[in-house]
């Protein structure tokens, strides 16, 4: 129930932010359409812990800034490789454990790896991920398991 209410509220907030017009008619139209979409989603039974992972909200607040900092560092690394004339790359394909318990957690981890330039998740297989890395340095960064640990923390115990 909290999830359904949360979805309706989130949709309405999105409507308000995108329209920016606060007239009674438009606001009531927004309420009607966000309730309608929430009802449709309820009928389709897609409002579950996967479709609308509201329980991850508080932990995402600390995870995202950390991830953004990692992305900035990795971006600088890859940009330097591209600029330098000798093009020092050493592509690696390797397998690394993904110790998250839920599928949402694994997707979070795999997407975090892909978002960081220099590493791409190719497949997720059981509790391991196959990663393509641009350099062995980027590969060792994933193998060290720092991001895995952070993604587990973000997942929590749910």
């Amino acid at each position: 129930m909290i999830r359904k209410l949360g979805l309706a509220l989130a949709l309405f907030a999105l409507w308000l932010l995108l329209s920016g017009i606060f007239e009674p008619l438009l606001i009531s139209l927004g309420i009607i359409s966000s309730l309608f979409v929430a009802w449709l989603a309820h009928r389709m039974e897609v409002i579950d812990h996967e479709g609308f992972p509201i329980h991850m909200g508080p932990r995402a607040i600390t995870y995202w800034p950390w991830l953004i900092w990692e992305i900035i560092k990795a971006n600088i690394d890859v940009a330097l490789i591209i600029i330098k004339p000798e093009l020092k790359i050493s592509p690696v394909l390797f397998r690394s454990p993904a110790s998250q318990k839920t599928e949402v957690g694994q997707v979070t981890y795999a997407n975090s790896i892909t978002l960081t330039p220099g590493t791409i998740t190719v497949t997720v297989h059981g509790d391991t991920v196959d990663v393509h890395a641009l350099t062995t340095g980027a590969a060792d960064e994933v193998i060290s398991g720092r991001m895995d640990k952070r993604a587990c923390q973000m997942e929590g115990n749910s």
């Binding site: 999105l14 932010l17 995108l18 920016g20 953004i68 992305i71 900035i72 971006n75 890859v78 940009a79 591209i82 600029i83 093009l87 790359i89 050493s90 592509p91 690696v92 394909l93 390797f94 397998r95 795999a110 997407n111 975090s112 892909t114 978002l115 960081t116 330039p117 220099g118 590493t119 791409i120 998740t121 190719v122 497949t123 297989h125 391991t128 196959d130 393509h132 641009l134 062995t136 590969a139």
Partner: protein, 118 residues
């Protein structure tokens, strides 16, 4: 004035990174390594361009819309990159590798065979 300068610095950084990303797509040897170069354009180039434009817009609805663009790209870009990598493997593209650490390559070969059969 200070905000203007900061915003221009961010926009110039974003533009420079976009160019680097494009150069990388041209210079790198195969589809997988090129995806890494495209990743620069997806993340930091887009991020700093949007941040620069947000500073120009100030506290208006435009800023909120730019933030939403960033949020959606944050979820969409790794998904598309992963789909592209998986499709390349399934289509039988062999990545150029210095080192292949997957001793048991069943997982990758499974995907590849699935792609061939269907």
């Amino acid at each position: 004035m200070a905000i203007d300068m900061l915003s221009w610095i961010l926009i110039v950084i974003g533009g420079g990174l976009s160019i680097i990303s494009a150069v990388g797509i041209l210079r790198l040897p195969d589809v997988f390594t090129r995806m890494h170069a495209a990743g620069i354009g997806d993340t930091l180039a887009l991020g700093s361009l949007c941040a620069g434009m947000m500073l120009q817009a100030g506290w208006t609805i435009v800023t909120i819309k730019l933030a939403l663009i960033l949020l959606f790209m944050f979820f969409a870009s790794p998904t598309t990159t992963h789909a592209l990598a998986k499709a390349a493997i399934a289509g039988g593209v062999k990545p150029i590798l210095d080192e292949d650490r997957i001793a048991n390559k069943n997982a990758l070969e499974d995907t590849e065979n699935k792609g061939k059969n269907s």
